[in-house]
């Protein structure tokens, strides 16, 4: 089978690591879009760039060989580029975001409404050629709905629970949802604009605050990108400690989610017990690394906290407690008919949607898509560790819970292996100065985080961070169709998409 680089012709850019970046013509760009639409390639990211001239970049991977990655770049001097979304729907929101942030228009795009820009910024195209926003906020047209006995329920941005803000527009007939349309962008903080010109140290802090629940994963993905760009070799001990923190983060989040999904089905005893297990993990993390969420512990060049043997013992003890308690909880989840009644068959994501959108994490794996960035493209030390990636075929809330349960088991084993094999040596090398371009991945608890950086003179010139939620939020819209309104919180929690990671 021909590789992506053979199919898509372009001029290779020097200094982009570890995967190639090629500059293509509009035809080459369309060719890439055709590969995506035909299912031969998976879209990993699509973002704009203004330096030195208007550009759009698209990261894709071979649909059957996830480690074969290519970045395709197209100059758009007239601020237009051929729409990918018209052929491949997963690109639509990414293109709308490029249009809002840069002002580059995707020609032929099926949806030209703004995304992320809700009209409150006083400025248009903040990352491109800035211009003052119009004094009056333009109205936003939700998709039209026609039919008998339909009613709409607007929800948010402020929601009823302790969750992030976003707007959901439900159209329902009786209790049944016929369409959900999301409007996001409420927590857009302009992270990518703050990145431009930032030192690597400050940029790492920003990356770590893109989505707080995945702070370790963002730290790793950002570090991978910077280390690739600057050709930095990270000491083995640092790699193991990163993986240890990443698995603790995954454990804490999955345990919290398993309880929270049950709580949204009004089964609070699971929530209470899972909350205790989650707290054990966070306390072990705080004791070992000095921060409950392990924020700012992963930096380009290594890690900022080392692990002493007695702290390692504390982590082991916390995990022992989880090992002891978890089977009982799983048993309770699996044998409570009223709970199963809510989760089984609810909010189904069809396998072909997960495949088309390249959905990662439990959303993809619950619908048969096995992708895991720890396996492919893969990164150290996971190549030396023994673990499996659980997948399910059903695609419902129940399957997404089960992926989490199985991943908790895998992470428990991974932490044990990491502590046992932890190599000696330094935990960091300096990461400063230099120039280059890099792409980095990390497998967060909810899926693969992608970071692309360009470094010039030791400062960040451009940094793009793509949260896994970009390819999961749209599937939530599809999954809720035909379900009852009351099951939305349950479906939403089973996805647990990041608002902040998506809005940036």
């Amino acid at each position: 089978m021909p590789s992506l680089a053979d199919t898509i012709e372009g001029k290779r850019v020097e200094g982009h690591r570890p995967w190639p970046r090629i500059v293509v013509t509009a035809d080459g760009w369309r060719g890439a879009a055709i590969e995506l639409a035909a299912g031969r390639a998976t879209l990993l990211g699509l973002w704009g760039d203004a330096d030195p001239a208007p550009l759009v970049h698209m990261a894709i991977s071979d649909a059957t060989a996830a480690a074969e990655i290519l970045v395709v770049s197209l100059a758009c001097p007239d601020q237009r580029f051929p729409s990918v979304g018209v052929l491949h729907p997963p690109a639509i929101r990414l293109e709308r975001a490029i249009q809002s942030l840069y002002g580059y228009a995707p020609t032929g795009a099926p949806d030209d409404r703004p995304w992320l820009d809700l009209g409150f910024w006083n400025v248009q195209h903040p990352l491109g050629a800035r211009r003052p926003a119009p004094a009056a906020r333009p109205p936003y047209d939700f998709l039209p709905v026609e039919g008998e006995a339909l009613h709409q329920i607007p929800v948010g941005p402020v929601h009823a629970g302790i969750i992030e803000p976003g707007h959901f527009r439900f159209t329902a007939t009786g209790e049944t949802v016929v369409r959900l349309e999301q409007r996001l962008g409420y927590v857009h903080k302009g992270i990518e604009s703050l990145m431009a010109g930032a030192t690597i140290e400050r940029a790492a802090k920003l990356a770590a605050r893109t989505s707080g629940d995945s702070t370790v994963a963002y730290g790793i993905a950002f570090a991978h990108a910077v280390e690739a760009a600057l050709r930095i070799d990270v000491p083995p001990r640092a790699r193991y400690l990163r993986a240890l923190m990443a698995e603790l983060e995954r454990l804490a989040n999955h345990l919290g989610d398993i309880g929270a999904v049950c709580n949204d089905a009004s089964f609070s005893i699971m929530h209470a017990h899972c909350g205790i297990l989650r707290e054990h993990v966070l306390r072990a993390a705080a004791a070992s690394f000095g921060h409950r969420l392990m924020m700012d512990r992963v930096v380009p060049g290594g890690v900022t906290a080392d692990l002493t043997p007695d702290r390692a013992m504390q982590i082991r003890n916390a995990l022992q407690e989880i090992r002891r308690r978890l089977p009982q909880l799983v048993n309770l989840y699996d044998n409570t008919a009223s709970l199963q009644d809510r989760t089984v068959g609810t909010g189904i994501v069809r396998a072909e949607w997960a495949q088309q959108f390249g959905a990662g994490g439990f959303v993809g794996r619950a619908s048969g898509r096995i992708f895991d960035a720890r396996k492919a493209p893969g990164y150290a030390p996971y190549d030396t560790l023994d673990f499996s990636v659980p997948i399910f075929a059903e695609g419902d809330v129940n399957a997404r819970v089960w992926v989490r349960i199985r991943e908790v088991e895998q992470s428990l084993s991974l932490v044990e292996q990491i502590i046992r094999r932890l190599p000696d040596g330094p935990v960091a090398v300096p990461a400063e100065g230099g120039a280059g371009e890099g792409l980095g991945f990390a497998e967060a608890f909810r899926g693969d985080v992608l970071v692309a950086v360009r470094i010039e003179g030791g400062k960040i010139a451009r940094c793009h961070l793509r949260d896994p939620s970009w390819f999961q939020w749209p599937l939530l819209e599809a999954a809720i169709e035909g379900n009852i309104v009351a099951d939305f919180p349950l479906c939403n929690k089973s996805f647990n998409c990041s608002y902040s990671g998506h809005d940036l």
Binding site: H188, G190, R209, G212, G275
Partner: protein
């Protein structure tokens, strides 16, 4: 499930001793609240959490307040679903420009008397996101704030210390500093 419930009865509670109120928080409250207003707070407070732009780190630690170790409800503090039921708005995040109007509306929807707690470094002054085209800054740039709880994110124990200060009697320790 029965076995788990029985075990729960037999086991010593996980809930930990409450921390003393935070001195800095008490001092800030003493300065911002009149004595009469403090008395009206009473021992039972309904809190409405508003994420006005947070990275969701603060939300995770607010959630933790409800777990068995911290058990927020034993103090009469509980989270409610609507600002119309709330006495306290607990606001996180640098207020994004996209959330400013929603925060103002939430504030207006909260009945008087009401108090605002700004939680986290971002809510204090915009934190690391200050200066962005998309950020309006700390919570006090948008609505009046009675209490700041700092941290990135503040630990549940730190949040608890700050919130307990809201419950301290007006003629108690607050008067000292």
């Amino acid at each position: 499930m029965r076995r788990m419930l029985l075990e729960g009865l037999a086991r010593r509670p996980l809930t930990e001793k409450p921390p003393a109120a935070d001195d800095a928080a008490l001092a800030e409250l003493a300065a911002s609240l009149e004595r009469a207003a403090r008395r009206r707070l009473g021992r039972s407070l309904a809190i409405r959490e508003v994420d006005a732009g947070s990275c969701n780190g603060c939300e995770l630690e607010i959630h933790a307040l409800n777990n068995a170790f911290y058990d927020l409800e034993r103090f009469g503090l509980r989270f409610v679903a609507s600002p119309r039921h709330a006495d306290v708005l607990l606001v996180t995040g640098p207020v994004t420009k996209n959330m400013r109007q929603a925060l103002e509306r939430t504030y207006r929807a909260t009945p008087d008397p009401k108090w605002v707690v700004a939680l986290g470094d971002c809510a204090t002054d915009g934190g690391i996101f200050a200066g962005s085209y998309a950020v309006a800054g700390g919570v006090s740039n948008v609505v009046p704030v009675d209490l700041h709880i700092r941290g990135c994110p503040p630990s549940p124990a730190a949040i608890l210390k700050g919130l307990i200060a809201l419950l301290e009697p007006a003629n108690g320790r607050a008067a000292v500093r």
